[in-house]
């Protein structure tokens, strides 16, 4: 330490955000290493496995850790192949191909001596450049977020406590005639937004099916897609400010439904669009 003091282990712990602990991966042996190791997070545990948003963020983090990646992610697709068990996992990272402006990565999260594939992902990174541009999509007219707001009601599943959310519109657990919700959301405690936390927020929406049905049915995300629309400078400007999150469902049919989400940042900027397919039991 530059000033000669040594913080206690406890002090160090509080300086690391729970989200950063959850997505942490062991350092590559060298710049060429494409094998990373992580451990599931108790903090972000869901019903029968880790919160899918943290799994997505961890897979993205595996790419962000690569020294030879192009600067920013453009897209992330996660195939949730199996129920990840509590404990250690490995992530195998492959660079499929890279050019000057785009770079394609493939990832697998494996567990156990059989190296069962629990999740697979495709990530595209890119080099953003100064070009012509236009922002066509605009956020819904919404008053600014209240100065203080807390967690979503309830403390189960566990990962919910690590988000603050203020619901602007949408009635949960009711037989509504639409599934749209609009809410302000932020990490709790505060944490400056980055691509990994943005990816996780893309899976933090209240499941759409519970906007159409008053009672619980078992569900699971099958596949998640995230497109990142903002460059690094815009991400940096966002800091710890809450994002505006809008989600809808289009079709609930024969055991599968979808979710479409948009995440808006400061200055009416679209930070991410996200889509997922969800299995439901009945």
């Amino acid at each position: 330490m530059a000033n000669g003091t040594t913080p206690s282990a406890g002090h160090e712990l509080t300086q690391t955000h729970p989200f950063d602990r959850a997505i942490a991966l062991s350092a590559p042996q060298d710049a060429d290493s494409r094998l990373l190791r992580g451990v599931t997070s108790d903090d972000y545990w869901n019903a029968v496995g880790p919160f899918g948003g943290v799994t997505a963020a961890t897979l993205l983090n595996a790419v962000m850790r690569q020294l030879d990646r192009l600067p920013v992610p453009l897209s992330l697709t996660v195939s949730y192949a199996g129920a990840i068990r509590a404990g250690e996992f490995d992530i195998l990272v492959r660079c499929l191909r890279g050019g000057r402006t785009t770079q394609h990565w493939s990832l697998e999260l494996v567990q156990g001596s059989e190296r069962e594939v629990m999740a697979s992902a495709l990530v595209v990174c890119g080099l953003r450049r100064d070009t012509w541009g236009v922002r066509e999509a605009l956020p819904p007219a919404t008053p600014p977020p209240p100065p203080a707001f807390g967690a979503r009601p309830g403390d189960s599943p566990r990962w919910l406590r690590w988000y603050r959310e203020h619901l602007v519109s949408g009635d949960l657990y009711r037989a509504n005639d639409h599934s749209e919700t609009l809410s302000w959301i932020a990490d709790a405690p505060a944490r400056a937004l980055d691509y990994t936390s943005l990816a996780a927020i893309c899976d933090a929406f209240f499941p759409r099916i519970y906007l159409r049905r008053p009672s619980f049915v078992p569900i699971a995300t099958v596949t998640l897609n995230v497109y990142f629309h903002a460059g690094q400078a815009v991400m940096d400007e966002q800091g710890c400010a809450p994002v505006l999150a809008r989600a809808t469902g289009q079709v609930f049919n024969e055991g599968f439904c979808d979710q479409e989400g948009r995440i808006w940042g400061l200055g009416d900027r679209l930070l991410a669009t996200t889509h997922q397919v969800v299995w439901y039991r009945e």
Copy 2:
């Protein structure tokens, strides 16, 4: 032949739709085979490689060819890693994991002695079941398609000739204040819709950037995502009827833009939603 006649080679050729020739793959050696071979299609050639929709359809076809797949695809994500060269390619198919209701596949399209990865894909297949359901999204109010309509104006790139398209709204190659188009589209000559042709149609939209800019700039699809919302019975009902295709772009920024599309079938049914990230030069 059951009736004792032998059609000429030319006759056989006209009975096979150009699309089926384009996505054809050599038969697996046996039920366990996960290596398929194809050849790029001159018919569906684009500017510097195959039409991306046919590449997506070919990758999906590699899964549809697997004897142990679950009945219908739920999602398809394609990472367009490199410019596919004219000629032969191999597709390596892996079943990452399968359960009773979902099954996760990973694919790579490789070329050359170095087995360079030109495209990578994730496909999820599923077993649809009789469950509660609701259709939330509705198509825009549109008059029925004209009884006859032809190809999009122009015959370049080459793949365009294999689609009929009737533009309902949207002005191409103009500096519009939005990028939305609505059109009726169908394979030409007529071909009953299936999941592979639906996947290709998801990439057949006129590039959004040309709805906002009057002049040509080089573009390339970087990644494509398709969610299939209809089960087999609905797909079968569609037959050769044109689909209604709506597309918008949200953000054009720093060398990358997006496209969001919806494909509607008979009876106001949402057949697919699709998203893509597109690189543009300047």
